[in-house]
């Protein structure tokens, strides 16, 4: 349970970090919080030749909340996002989801952007990036590009970011008007990987009826996916919509795998239960935000 030998660099600027990544070649891996990567190293599931530690790179630890959305730098720890009131006002899912990320000791070190770049389908922030229609900024020696969530997630623990590249921030678009969110997960121990989790957004029309319902799940499927559940409750009153029907629809749409922790059928059951529960909560919030 010790990492295999590697070479280590902790460059003091983004340009230097990219230089090292170029010089070290395909065996180099970026290290930020390390709360997912270091276990992989210790279990010898990964054995990069070089770790490029970006913790000394300046200007990556900021959260910028504007009317358009929230931009989270690559060195923002989960605990920083959890307690960022401005970010929570613009996109409430951020604080709701980070509260479910592991335990305080992990949140103190682990980064939100790192967990997205890690692309674990059990991760909270991968699902939130998808649900909000977010994107990441990728820096390479030839410049920066924006990669949308659908193009980012290729498979479990695999993204489309390859070669000398660093994900320098993630952008989560603002919650639309007359909308509410909720996030919940089921885990064996609070803070552990979710057996199943759900994040939802409910949007109301101007007359207060349900006009859009979207959901994304954790530990369901190989990559984050967003499901449109609007058809089950479209046009119904927000305080009396048939959320059970939306849960039923969600169960027919998902295709979870079974593993040591839960069978596929049990996960599908949880998708229904969590969907019904979170949608009612999100709708109540949408009503409040519509009145405000």
């Amino acid at each position: 349970m010790k990492p295999a030998p590697f070479r280590y660099a902790d460059p003091g600027s983004l340009d230097e970090a990219l230089d090292v990544l170029v010089a070290e070649g395909a065996g180099a891996k970026v290290l930020a919080g390390g709360q997912s990567l270091i276990p992989l190293l210790s279990m010898r599931l990964a054995a990069p030749a070089t770790l490029v530690d970006i913790n000394r790179v300046p200007d990556l630890d900021t959260v910028e909340a504007t009317g358009d959305g929230v931009r989270v730098g690559a060195l923002v720890r989960h605990v920083g996002l959890l307690h960022d009131a401005a970010a929570a006002r613009v996109q409430p899912l951020l604080a709701r989801a980070t509260a479910n990320v592991a335990h305080p000791a992990i949140r103190n070190r682990g980064t939100t952007v790192g967990s997205i770049a890690h692309a674990d389908p059990s991760g909270e922030m991968t699902a939130v990036l998808a649900l909000t229609g977010g994107s990441v900024t990728v820096a390479t020696p030839s410049g920066r590009s924006t990669v949308g969530w659908r193009d980012l997630f290729v498979g479990p623990l695999e993204t489309s970011v390859h070669g000398p590249a660093i994900v320098v921030d993630a952008f989560f678009p603002a919650l639309p008007p007359r909308s509410g969110t909720a996030f919940a997960e089921i885990s064996r121990r609070k803070g552990d990987y979710a057996v199943c989790g759900a994040g939802v957004v409910v949007t109301l029309s101007e007359n207060g009826t349900v006009s859009a319902v979207r959901a994304s799940y954790l530990s369901v499927g190989l990559v984050p996916e967003v499901y449109d559940l609007t058809d089950a409750v479209n046009g119904q009153a927000a305080d009396s919509a048939d959320w059970a029907a939306a849960g039923e629809l969600a169960r027919t749409l998902v295709d979870p795998d079974g593993d040591l922790h839960a069978s596929a059928d049990y996960r599908r059951l949880l998708v229904g239960v969590l969907t019904e529960r979170t949608l009612a909560e999100a709708a109540a919030e949408a009503v409040l935000r519509s009145a405000a």
């Binding site: 349970m1 210790s42 279990m43 103190n108």
Partner: protein, 185 residues
């Protein structure tokens, strides 16, 4: 030009004492504390961040020392379980309130997980509003990331409640067993 190394010399302030070590870059902080610095109070359980036994404070924040490389704490301040007690200025030491309440409440049996619990709880109690009475939800949040296979947690949670009471500033209304704390921890 950035250096790319397989070995590094680091300086870390551990429990208030500056320490130096030259170690392979792949050395985990947990192993560096135990093997390079001889501080065996930090226990190594699962080595992949699940059990919490190796929790230490890095610049005051609880972190899993098995999920941090030793080279990453170069220049930082680390507190281990050995650093929780404070000097009584009479040649001895005074245990941290949570160390006292662990003893009082029988919050340990085999003791393997205890260092991680003590460090985690000490930091958790330090970070909260000490004048407020602690809630069950707070207690669960503080200890939720640490595993104990002996106690069943009831006495650990009791020890957290008692330590929180002991750490309430003098004058705050409290009914805990450990009254009259000076809140200075």
């Amino acid at each position: 030009m950035t250096s790319v190394d397989t070995e590094r010399s680091i300086t870390v302030t551990v429990n208030g004492v500056p320490r130096e070590a030259t170690l392979p870059v792949r050395r985990l902080l947990s192993d560096a504390l135990r093997h390079d610095l001889g501080l065996t109070g930090t226990h190594v359980g699962c080595e992949h961040g699940v059990c919490g036994a190796c929790t230490v404070l890095v610049d005051g924040q609880p972190m899993r020392s098995c999920l941090v490389l030793a080279v990453q704490v170069d220049g930082a301040s680390v507190t281990t379980v050995e650093g929780l007690a404070r000097d009584d200025h009479q040649g001895g030491q005074v245990l941290h309130p949570v160390q006292e309440t662990f003893r009082e409440c029988h919050a340990l049996q085999c003791g393997f997980c205890t260092p991680g619990f003590l460090v985690t709880i000490a930091a958790g109690l330090e970070a909260r509003d000490k004048a407020a009475e602690i809630t069950e939800e707070e207690v669960d949040e503080i200890v939720g990331g640490n595993l104990c296979r002996c106690t069943g947690y009831a006495n650990i949670k009791k020890a957290v409640r008692h330590a929180a009471a002991a750490m309430r500033p003098t004058g705050a209304d409290h009914t805990g067993h450990f009254g009259g704390g000076d809140g200075a921890w």
